[in-house]
Amino acid sequence: MADTRNIQNPANSRTILATDCGSTTTKAILIERTAEGWRLIARGEAPTTVEAPFDDVTVGVLNAISELEDLTGRHFLTDGHIMVPAEPAGGADLYLSTSSAGGGLQMLVTGVVKTMTAESAQRAALGAGAIVIDVLSVDDGRALHERVERIRALRPDMVLMSGGTEGGTTSHLLDMAETLRAAAPRPRLGRDFRLPVIYAGNSAAREGVGEVIADKVALTHVDNLRPILEQENLGPAREEIHNLFLEHVMAQAPGYDKLLKWTSADIMPTPMAVGEMVRAAARANNSNVVAVDIGGATTDVFSVFNETFNRTVSANLGLSYSISNVLAEAGAENILRWLPFELAEQHLRDRLRNKMIRPTTIPQTLEELYLEQAVAREALRLAFAHHSMLAAKLKGVQQIRTIADTFAQALGGESLIDLMNLELIIGSGGVLSHAPLREQAALMMIDAFQPQGITRLAVDSIFMMPQLGVLASVQPEAAREVFERDCLIWLGTVVAPAGTAREGDNVMRYTLQPENGAGEEKQGELSFGELRRLPLDIGKTALLRVEPTRRFNIGPGPGRSLETRITGGVAGVILDARGRPLSLPPENQQRYRLLKQWMTELGFPPV
């Protein structure tokens, strides 16, 4: 639980204000304990004010809260500050905030071996909510002078050094320290303060590294984040990143000294707060969860599998500023395959470029909407692939094998992301939260993530996961209740057997028995390539029996039946017999016909 200030007992609080200071918008929410538990009362927003002419983040915070005052007719502000704790005239019992203003926390990480310590360091930094701007390792194929030039050009907010297991290499760490010294990196913010460097490598090299760089940077050290090959110890490094973020980086950002005094608990980096909420959601539902936030410039992916949390940021995958980069990374043919109509590659390229240079335009026609959603599928797919690669078991670990494993060729490092055991996907970001039809958001997530078995889908209605994440650190119950009642919009459940066949082959038989009078029993069969939607409202449950044919697996194994209770949502239950991995026919007319069939089944207007 976080340190708390300005409050007697967080458990007694009734009124909570929380803000998220984003790079462009500051969003404020008001949460209250009502007769039916904790609820979201109102939401206000205002432009973020970290840049000239304001140079003070608190101006935007006050503006966003004053919008809340207008909306509720109540008072939270007096003499240019927030009334905390509450006074007879108004105010709130708690005020909390998250921040990603000024481009978030930009970190450089170093390690010895790219796929081992450097990757562990990257996981530690990402888990603490940082944007990792580069990963340097002894085996990254770069010459010393190239590394030095790279560090100089990057100007990180902080550096995390790792490398060497306990008792392992020290010389490579000294090499890396020399590289840092030669580069003499200057921090992005605040000309006069020294760049924070956290040393989390082999403890035997700690002193030597200190001799090389301690006079040039603000060096601190924590326990080795990879003490032995078989074990990661990321907690101390993550905690130190958070401390230094507050002490150094945030303190340099305009107005934060004031904001830090106002808040009832530490300010959290926005992605870290979202991560806390995803973890809380996984605990509350006892589920494996994947959450994604797709923005204009970046896409964040979070996952909790068997209680292991991971986060990644794909810094150049997004739907406005970065849209041309999605095209560059995915290739035109991968975007075009999701369109149920013909579009010449050159037109696709020019249209995406025009969106890049005028990033705030919105689709007016269905063709434009489906094009944007096609790009979103590819951005999500690439970001998820990136995430699956990094959210992996430790590489370099000797596996104990049985005879049965001998043919599996597993070399360690396989992904923790297990699509069959993924139970909940949460989407947020404009293209998902504001899709004209919720079914469109559901299908984008299904196509991009390709969940297998039984998976629930939800979207974050107004992106308040950041505020709820910081709230969870002081008032977990309030955060959980608002999250479930007001934050998530349940889209429904997707039922997707893994396996492939020829179009028209039988895939599964199903029986859906809604409970408590939620509807009639439905039965049927699906053949390969079909998608079917069965209505089941939000909050309703049903018993589902699925009998897959022998090539298909719904969870218990190929050809084995499954009976389970599922929950509904705006899009109901989506039975997906398109196979996994999902592959689209290469022939255009055949593909257009299938895509149109799926869109019609989910109620999309025809193009």
């Binding site: 020399e178 090389v212 990374e329 020019d350 240079i357 007016q364």
Partner: protein, 382 residues
């Protein structure tokens, strides 16, 4: 009420343009306030500290790090020449001799007793800052640079590649909807900034590079042509550093789009004048657009300056949408079309996608009345 963001590129015939020209570190300013200078006049100069070159000296010598300082012939602070002997180790009977020579010239800054590295600071590099504008040195920033000021026509493009360039304006096309071909180009355009209309053929781009033009200003190019010109696919829109034969500025976008009438007219009226252009574009928070600055004359009348300074325009204009305002559609299905706002309904309206958005009613140039999301309009500033 949230207002639609209209990029509103600045296009003005007569304004005061100010540009700060600053050294990366402190140095010497070479001009005085009030001086009238040319774009390529060096206004300030500094010596940038040389980079440190670190190398594994102990390893080269085959000794332990702690032995290094004892064997060195040089100390911290000593100057060394490239190839100069820094230390040598003689093996048995003079055999297996190993030595360590300075890989670069400079000053020894650091000897690592733990790491076995030597760091040599290389000689400082001179850095020069040019005036960029033909105009007046409005202010000297002591030891740091100058503030340049010019009375000029100022036009922002929407996207560009390539950095700062200078040259005389030369119209290659007669109409804003005319596309550039090889036939429009001639050898006398070498070093000039060429203006054409709606697009350019790929052969024309190659010919312009061969002739050696300084810049090309065009309504639009296709993404494919941009890729061909730069040599790779630009993923993230941060440009200005490309190694390209000339600076390229698109005024409207991608595809084939006639240059806005007014932009074309201003450029045409200034044919033959010297211009400064920069293709650097950043489409992020704190957007940077490419620019064309064509100085009219040296600023002399102080009173006039005062009246014009307020209109200076490094920031996009803040004109709001209102009936009668001329706009351009910047998204399909009307992309590139022009019209005039006739109504701004207050209520949200459902568009074809099913989304409810704030819209504007537009009368197009050919007299049609259409409804367009406000987010898809760009105000044409006059």
């Amino acid at each position: 009420m949230p207002t639609a963001y209209t990029p509103g590129l600045r296009i003005t015939e007569d304004t005061i343009v100010e540009r700060e020209r600053r050294l990366p570190i402190k140095g010497e300013v070479l001009v005085e306030a009030g001086a009238v200078v040319e774009p390529e006049t060096v206004v300030a100069r500094c010596l940038l500290e040389g980079d440190i070159h670190s190398f594994k000296a102990a390893e080269q010598l085959g000794i332990s790090s702690s032995e290094l300082s004892g064997l060195l012939k040089k100390r911290v602070g000593d100057k060394v020449e490239k190839g100069e002997l820094l230390a040598e180790v003689k093996g048995f009977f003079g055999l297996f001799r190993s030595e360590c020579r300075a890989p670069v010239a400079g000053t020894i800054e650091h000897i690592g007793t733990t790491s076995g590295y030597i760091g040599i600071r290389q000689s400082p590099r001179p850095i020069e800052v040019l005036a960029y504008l033909r105009g007046e040195v409005a202010e000297v920033l002591p030891e740091e640079g100058v503030m340049m000021k010019a009375r000029a026509a100022f036009i922002q493009g929407i996207f560009g590649v390539g950095g700062e360039r200078y040259g005389r304006m030369k119209m290659a096309c007669d109409r804003p909807d005319e596309s550039l071909t090889e036939d429009h180009l001639s050898e006398e355009m070498r070093g000039a900034i060429i203006v054409c209309g709606s697009g350019a053929s790929s052969a024309a781009l190659e010919e312009a590079a061969r002739i050696g033009v300084a810049g090309l200003i065009v309504g639009a190019l296709s993404d494919e042509q941009l890729r061909g010109f730069v040599g790779y696919d630009i993923g993230v829109a941060i440009t200005g550093q490309e190694q390209v034969p000339f600076t390229l500025i698109l005024t409207e976008g991608f595809g084939e789009i006639p240059m806005a009438e007014r932009t074309f007219r201003i450029l045409q009226s200034l044919e033959g004048k010297a211009a400064s252009i920069n293709g650097a574009t950043q489409i992020r928070a704190g957007v940077i657009r490419p620019e064309i600055i064509i100085p009219r004359e040296a600023v002399d009348a102080a009173g006039e300056e005062g009246s014009l300074t307020g209109a200076v325009a490094d920031k996009a204009g803040s004109t709001e949408l209102a009936p009668g305002v001329k706009v351009r559609m910047i998204r399909e299905p009307y992309f590139g079309g022009l019209g005039e706002v006739t109504a701004l309904p207050a209520e949200l309206q459902t568009v074809e996608t099913g989304a409810k958005v704030r819209v504007a009613v537009i009368q197009t140039e050919d007299g049609q009345e259409i409804t367009v999301p406000r987010a898809n309009l760009e105000i044409i500033q006059e």
